[in-house]
Assembly symmetry: C2
Homo-oligomer: 144 residues x 2
């Protein structure tokens, strides 16, 4: 419960940052309350019909980040249905900064998990990049 509480605080931070930029944002309901017939991401931010789907990860300092295959599958499934873009949203807690790594950039590990390597976190998109995308002034390809 302590750990869950901390995770929620970071999700809320992400929600507020996008809200301030004019996005419609929702945090998904807590796990536990639901019948498991649908999947949903941690956070969803929408603007001008652009849908960004996030799995949220936090790390104390810049390093490789790991996700379960289930987490990746749920972001992909949700994004595909929505016609949106899926990302791992990594918060580097030390600096408070967020980096957004497209879900397709992940590497499958031998153990069947997924890895975002340190360099991809470092070179990840920033909040301002995602905001700019919704202005339709630049295409995603230009950032990658």
């Amino acid at each position: 419960m302590k750990i869950k509480g901390r995770g929620f605080a970071h999700e809320r931070d992400l929600v507020l940052k996008f809200w301030k930029k004019g996005f419609a944002v929702v945090r998904a309901p807590a796990s536990g309350s639901k019948v498991k017939r649908t999947v949903y991401p941690d956070v969803l931010a929408i603007r001008n019909g652009f849908v960004f789907v996030f799995e949220v990860k936090t790390t104390g300092r810049l390093r490789d980040v790991y996700l379960d295959s289930k987490q990746v599958a749920k972001v992909k499934e949700f994004s595909k249905r929505a016609g949106g873009l899926g990302f791992v949203a990594v918060k580097i807690v030390g600096t408070g900064e967020w980096r957004f790594v497209p879900i397709d950039k992940l590497q499958l590990t031998r153990g069947g998990r997924f890895k975002v390597c340190k360099l991809d976190v470092e070179k990840g998109l920033r909040l301002t990049d995602l905001v700019e995308l919704t202005h339709k002034t630049r295409r995603l390809d230009e950032f990658l």
Copy 2:
């Protein structure tokens, strides 16, 4: 808590109906858990970049339905940010059917609330109409 439980059951019904039609769907987190700096709707359904924003109401039989001005304002604000369409989703519990009335169709009452009149509920869009919209084969105007 009993009443809230029943409301959730109807929201879940709506979520599953859209999910089965290929939408990405989320139910917003329960009130109480959040900091009140953002607003979000009861249910959000997205497909092909089309964003539908719902305030959920249930009624035993076909009749006028009332909403608080706050509920209407939150759907409007969220839809505007998302670039989506806001609806009151009315479940007629007797028949189990849903009708979707565009949020702009509501009438302001003298008491400062909003009313969806019985006839507008009856003539409201159906689930199949909203699905069809996301195929981009017909425009919303044609339904109204």
